[in-house]
Symmetry: none
Subunit: 142 residues, 4 copies
């Protein structure tokens, strides 16, 4: 499977929202990007603040930009803050060092897209991203 379809992207978002409801989280914003970092689908729940589209997108886009989850980018930022800070201005949608951005891989392990979730704690955001990927019968990058 080389592409995330719109149907799958919507299933990811529905699954992630379901996880958020199950955990009683704050309202979320969720972006699903294709392998090139271009938005397939986005939804922002009522009551979220204005920057959620950009934050969700930057979590996913930054993950694709570096080939690792935004959780690992956060680890990288703790060790090398200037390096990670320097990426923001040169990445068209930014690079966001906080968990919640997860790469989706195909059967060959290659990235076919990414999911970015924002609105609650970064750890909870990531749980929702993983739940959404699973709900769509897709595979998160290990």
């Amino acid at each position: 499977m080389a592409y995330i379809t719109l149907e799958q992207a919507n299933a990811i978002i529905t699954g992630a929202f379901a996880k958020g409801a199950e955990l009683g989280l704050k309202p979320l914003g969720i972006a699903v990007l294709d392998a090139g970092g271009h938005l397939i689908a986005f939804q922002r729940q009522d009551g979220t603040s204005t920057l959620r589209p950009q934050i969700a997108t930057a979590k996913a886009s930054g993950a694709l930009a570096l080939g690792i989850s935004s959780r690992k980018i956060a680890d990288m930022a703790a060790e090398r803050p200037s390096f990670v800070a320097s990426l923001g201005p040169i990445a068209s949608h930014g690079v966001l060092p906080a968990a919640g951005g997860v790469i989706v891989v195909g059967a060959d392990g290659r990235a076919i897209g990414a999911v970015g979730v924002t609105g609650d704690t970064s750890d909870n955001d990531e749980l929702c991203a993983l739940a959404g990927i699973s709900a769509a019968a897709l595979t998160a990058q290990a």
Copy 2:
């Protein structure tokens, strides 16, 4: 009604896609923005090109920026091309002079958001935007 809810935004997109299917249009990208120009929901059908998120957003965002539909901005651009071109660099999501960006108004006539559609001809894009707004039982700016 002062806000477009996520449920309404999704209904707009579903209704606009239905219109596109009915008319046999090319795959579409559709953005729904709040009154401040911030994305509530976006969906891009399979087979659309990479800039569709930005084009759909700029149609809707440009409409909100000037208070008129992107069709009227296209008319303005025909008469005053330099004026409209100068808006791109100062508008955070750009201003796109082509039909398909339609403002949604509340009971008092004030903007509560906007819809941007891209993928087919501008005229057809606009038909889908209007159909989506109608399907969600909302009101397009006259």
Copy 3:
């Protein structure tokens, strides 16, 4: 009350300047934004430096972007500096981690705008923002 009117925005600025005069503060720059982060009114007192418009706007706009005061963003930046730094490039008016940016809420607790004050210490800037909101008979986010 879903909107801050221009009359109210001017009352916020007048009230904030009055607080600054009462406390003997340095000259201030004050921005009032609508819920979407768009400027309603701005005034900069004689003798202030050139970036005050952007700083005042970024305090208020950043608060709306994340849904919390710029004081809380400063607390967040102390714990997670790389995360907050990464928001600047993706927020159209920046995100400024220093007190002085306060969200104004309507009767339903939802943001209807924000005030940003700059020129003195951040603590004093925030006192003026709160005084201005109170002078206009509006409500600051708790």
Copy 4:
């Protein structure tokens, strides 16, 4: 007189709004900038669209950038559209080729600031800018 004071800037805005009311114009957005192109004061009347702050600022800022009114920049754009279009990306607040941006000069004829008005036709916007400058007992660039 080397500077426009905040008191004068507010008088310009009040005078320009009065002219708009007298002429029955649409709601306006008005920016007053210092000689360096930095905002002193801005007000946006209820019902104006979201890009008015940037348009008003770009009319005034572009005028200062080139040393001529934004009406003359519009004339220039008619003759040399590519030249004027190229200025937008390199001017921090853009350059807007439409009447309504007027330079304010001191006793020696040197720029001490500029006024930008937007919301109605460009011709009417300029009438309001000139009326505001006159109401503040200041002098528009000939």
